[in-house]
């Protein structure tokens, strides 16, 4: 990413969308909308003083709401381009209120509340569609309780929890505990307030709550018994019938990392087929069992319940033991399917490229990078679920097809 950001021949138009598209191979015209950041990128040095002083806290989408960000923000420290952005829906000034703190503290004078969206017109020979994917929304599977049971989380939430730069700095704290800790911080104030009242019931109730929460946060501080559920939304006729390719491996990886962080961690991976088809993947899986003690259980989870301490309890048929089993866990991590990105239908209409029945960009197996429009290529999860090495390789392949067009004026591609 840093290489792209610094490359003299690469012009990054982040926070932008395609608005109009016309032309043909060798001569496409693209109108791009650059959304207002309310920060001048040529002045901003990403020092972060603005976000430090901004008084408005909102849930941080990048960490799936597991922590908060400010109204002026940057998704994460290494982001490219390295520029802060004001979220206009939450900025007091842009909403017509009073504040202006960020403009005051910015020594580079980069904040500009008056900035407007702008348009850029590009004339290009070729286009590559690499719009990626979206995580399958697991709330569609009510029996798994995602969104209701706090300790049932998505694979990407798990990635954020395990990340040293994430909301818990890599410590595997249960989402219920994160909530409890937040509540515990509020309680002393509420108790003080309740003390003023003549009726002691409220105060007693709050004190009891505090006691219970303290016990709970102490008892369940680190999640050490983990269940990973594969094929959540994939290989499922109600949602996506395809296999999402990469999830078996990321579950194994997450389980191994959790164990590296906390050596008493025990992980169970519930699967249909463990698809370890990449280079070194099968060996990694075997090592996961041998070295990190992962347990692979062939069986679908039928339902997830929760006990009074917020422990998710999974019920499944262990097909190899031939019996129905219930198991109490500290946390359940769903291997959410790879869903086509929501914006892809709009992009396909604008560009005139065909999508397959699932909503991925359609390609022919013998021409894996070519869309239905000559001169428009595709790579990565835009064309179907694919893992990182294959995606990186495909990106180079799409670049080769694009180079053929650029270097020959598109003639070679007539075939």
């Amino acid at each position: 990413m840093l290489d792209v950001g610094r490359h003299p021949k690469v012009n990054v138009l982040a926070y932008s969308e395609i608005r109009e598209f016309s032309g043909q191979i060798g001569d496409f015209k693209v109108k791009v909308l650059k959304k207002a950041r309310y920060v001048d990128p040529s002045r901003c040095t990403a020092c972060g003083a603005c976000a430090e002083k901004c008084p408005t806290k909102v849930p941080n989408e990048f960490n799936f709401g597991l922590d908060d960000r400010k109204a002026i923000y940057k998704d994460y420290a290494q982001g490219i381009p390295s520029v802060y952005t004001i979220d206009p829906n939450n900025c007091k000034v842009i909403q017509g209120g009073k504040c202006g703190v960020c403009a005051k503290v910015c020594q580079a004078k980069a904040v500009d509340y008056e900035q407007k969206d702008s348009e850029v017109e590009l004339n290009v020979a070729t286009v590559i569609v690499s719009t990626g994917y979206e995580l399958f929304d697991a709330t569609q599977i009510p029996e798994y309780g995602y969104g209701k049971l706090p300790n049932v989380i998505s694979s990407l939430e798990m990635e954020r929890l395990l990340s040293a730069g994430g909301p818990t700095k890599g410590h595997l704290t249960r989402p219920s505990t994160i909530r409890f800790e937040k509540r515990l911080k509020e309680l002393p104030k509420l108790i003080k307030k309740a003390e003023k009242s003549e009726d002691p019931t409220e105060k007693n109730k709050l004190e009891e709550e505090a006691k219970w929460l303290e016990e709970q946060t102490h008892k369940h501080h680190t999640a050490t018994k983990l269940g990973f559920i594969q094929c959540v939304g994939s290989r499922d006729f109600r949602f996506h019938k395809y296999c999402s390719s990469y999830c078996c491996m990321h579950s194994i990886k997450e389980a191994i990392i959790a164990r590296e962080h906390e050596s008493s961690t025990e992980s169970f991976i519930f699967y249909m087929d463990l698809r370890t088809v990449g280079k070194g993947f099968e060996e990694y899986k075997v090592r996961g069992a041998k070295v990190s003690g992962l347990k692979y259980i062939r069986g679908r989870i039928a339902e997830i319940m929760q006990d009074e301490e917020y422990n998710p309890v999974v019920y499944y048929e262990d097909t190899e033991q031939r019996k129905v089993v219930g198991m109490s866990l500290d946390m359940v991590i769903l291997a959410n399917a790879c869903s086509p990105s929501k914006g892809i239908s709009q992009i396909s209409t604008l560009l005139g490229i065909e999508l397959d029945e699932n909503g991925f960009v359609s390609t022919h197996p013998n021409k894996p990078l070519d869309t239905s429009v000559p001169g428009i290529f595709t790579c990565g999860c835009a064309q179907g679920p694919i893992d990182i090495p294959e995606s990186v390789a495909q990106a180079s392949s799409a670049a080769a097809r694009a180079a053929e067009v650029v270097m020959t004026g598109g003639l070679a591609l007539a075939v």
């Binding site: 840093l2 610094r6 040095t45 020092c47 972060g48 003083a49 020594q107 580079a108 290989r235 019938k241 395809y242 296999c243 390719s245 087929d273 463990l274 698809r275 370890t276 088809v277 990449g278 280079k279 070194g280 993947f281 099968e282 060996e283 075997v286 097909t319 190899e320 031939r322 397959d356 699932n358 991925f360 022919h364 197996p365 013998n366 021409k367 894996p368 990078l369 179907g384 679920p385 694919i386 990182i388 090495p389 294959e390 990186v392 390789a393 495909q394 990106a395 180079s396 392949s397 799409a398 670049a399 080769a400 097809r401 180079a403 053929e404 270097m407 020959t408 070679a412 591609l413 075939v415």
Partner: protein, 558 residues
């Protein structure tokens, strides 16, 4: 401490506030005053942002004004900002290697946010060390090289052909070298290709015809690359055909050797008659529908086992493809696939798997500890779902065997100085970030030589390798970094320690002289050789012992 710095050294130090990132946590005034006390420092400047246009201009103006011949910037990380500051020096007429950076943000203000005093002391030490090193920096030169814009591709299978096509279309001269008498590799042996269910001839003939008519592509059949010399941009490859040798110049080499199918001698009663491989089944299917009604297919034969730990990626889909074709020709055929995990990843393959189940192909899992046993006329297997042994009558057993590395992979690996793994597959530069590159510049990788892949993937990787190669071929000239290693031939004892640690194949041993020599074009300046060399003959320019010891002494002296 012996002062090895020359007396005419004039160092300028620029201390960056990074807004409040550094200035908010460290005593900047103290850092500036401290810098002024350091030997050879003649100019010190504090900037709000040294990296801003204003900051860069201040560096460029200070160099001539104060006659500076070394520059130190104390700011953030060289990872992002060193190239910028080096080019500022260069624009002001100073050799860019006379620049040094002290990271007082990541290593001081960020990690010591609540320890103002300690953080400031630490920053002083960092600046002191950088100045001590800067005083001993020498001018280094980048070497400019001309290069050949031609490509040599080893292997004319589907990935090699795709790479050749792409490079030819981009206008580069390509020599495509195939050891067999025809192009196509494994594609020649297949019955149908999945998932499109078309005969391989269509794809093959199309590719061959386009290559044959491409004026930029020279096809060498019955040929091998027997020798290569040189380095990125300037290789000479020897193409041997029936004892005749042709030397071609090329800028890059693509390894597209392909793979071969394991013959399962001694496994499950393999006999090539009624216990056969899928490749053998495909050659039967090419002749017409097969007669057997009851067929058992066994997966993971010779793979995912102690001898070959890897999953060969393509065998499950091959079995499903052949099962579907047999069922299509004869819906009454009874096919049972004994498997461990059906590796039908992605959209198209899962769809094929579903179809196979719909048309009545039976899939039964087995435990490798209780592997199936092939008897005369049946296969018995412990059925995990039923918890008992079952016997499946059959006339034909088809074994799914993995793709294994080519026999000549080790030779090619030695010839090009690129590594292979324990299974004989070529080892890419980085498993995730550089899947088609080698650590050695100018050599690229695609197709089954890397790891078993589908036709879709092999085409993609061929194009991808071409794209990586074009990154070199499209340049007018190559430049090496000034920071490269050198070996003193006078003191080198030829122990080969450096050759063993060099990850880039950049060190050559000359037996006749008994010494090692660095190829400065391939060297990436990692310093492994300099650290290893027992006689201190290897040194890394820009990180010499003298420079590093000066830093250490400064750090210890305080």
């Amino acid at each position: 401490m012996k002062d090895t710095a020359k007396s005419d050294v004039r160092i300028g130090v620029f201390v960056c506030d990074c807004g409040s990132n550094i200035a908010g946590y460290l005593e900047m005034k103290e850092l500036v005053e401290y810098s002024k006390t350091l030997p050879n420092v003649v100019f010190v400047q504090e900037n709000l942002y040294t990296c801003s246009e204003g900051g860069i201009n201040e560096i460029k103006q200070a160099i001539p004004k104060h006659n500076l011949n070394r520059v130190v910037v104390a700011s953030c990380t060289p990872r992002t900002h060193e190239p910028l500051f080096m080019s500022a020096c260069e624009e002001a007429g100073l050799n860019p290697y006379l620049f040094e950076m002290a990271n007082i943000r990541d290593q001081c203000s960020w990690v010591h946010m609540r320890e103002r005093e300690t953080g400031t002391e630490r920053a002083k030490a960092q600046i002191g060390m950088a100045v001590a090193k800067a005083a001993r920096l020498r001018e280094l030169k980048r070497i400019q090289l001309n290069l050949s814009h031609n490509a040599v591709i080893i292997g004319g299978g589907v990935s090699g052909m795709s790479a050749a096509m792409a490079l030819g279309n981009m206008g580069y001269e390509v020599d495509l070298v195939e050891k067999e008498g025809k192009l196509g590799g494994l594609l020649n042996d297949l019955n149908m290709i999945l998932p499109s269910n078309e005969p391989p001839e269509r794809l093959l003939n199309d590719l061959v015809a386009r290559l044959e008519t491409n004026p930029k592509v020279n096809i060498h059949l019955n040929s091998i690359v027997s020798k290569t010399e040189g380095y990125v941009g300037n290789y000479v490859a020897t193409i041997s055909k029936n004892g005749e040798e042709l030397k071609v110049k090329c800028g890059i080499i693509i390894v597209a050797l392909g793979a071969r199918v394991l013959t399962p001698e001694g496994l499950y009663g393999y006999n090539g008659k009624d216990v056969i491989t899928h490749l053998e089944l495909e050659s039967l299917l090419r002749k017409g529908p097969i007669q057997s009604k009851n067929i058992v297919m066994i997966q993971c034969v010779g793979s995912r086992c102690a001898e070959r730990a890897y999953c060969s990626r393509i065998c499950c889909m091959t079995a499903v493809k052949n099962a579907l074709l047999i069922k299509e020709a004869d819906p009454t055929a009874r096919i049972t696939v004994l498997y461990r995990d059906m590796q039908m990843y992605g959209v198209e393959l899962e769809e094929m798997f579903r179809k196979a189940k719909q048309v009545g192909v039976r899939f039964v899992t087995f435990d490798p500890e209780k592997a199936p046993v092939v008897k005369d006329g049946s296969v018995s297997v412990y059925h995990l779902r039923m918890g008992k042994e079952v016997s499946i009558p059959c006339e034909l057993v088809v074994l799914s065997t993995p793709l294994i590395a080519q026999e000549d992979a080790p030779e090619v690996s030695t010839m090009l100085k690129v590594p292979i793994n324990e299974n004989g597959f070529f080892l890419e530069g980085h498993v995730k970030l550089k899947p088609l590159d080698f650590a050695t510049d100018g050599v690229y990788l695609c197709g089954n030589a890397r790891y078993p892949s589908t036709i879709r993937e092999a085409i993609g990787q061929g194009l991808g390798a071409a794209s990586r190669a074009a990154g070199v071929l499209s340049k007018d000239a190559l430049f090496t970094s000034g920071i490269v290693a050198d070996i003193n031939a006078q003191t080198c004892c030829g122990c080969l320690g450096c050759v063993a640690v060099c990850p880039y194949g950049a060190i050559n041993f000359f037996p006749e002289r008994g010494v090692c020599q660095v190829n400065k074009v391939l060297c990436k300046g990692c310093g492994g050789c300099a650290a290893t060399c027992p006689s201190s003959s290897a040194r890394l320019d820009g990180f010499s012992n003298e420079q590093i010891y000066a830093q250490i002494e400064k750090a210890l002296a305080g």
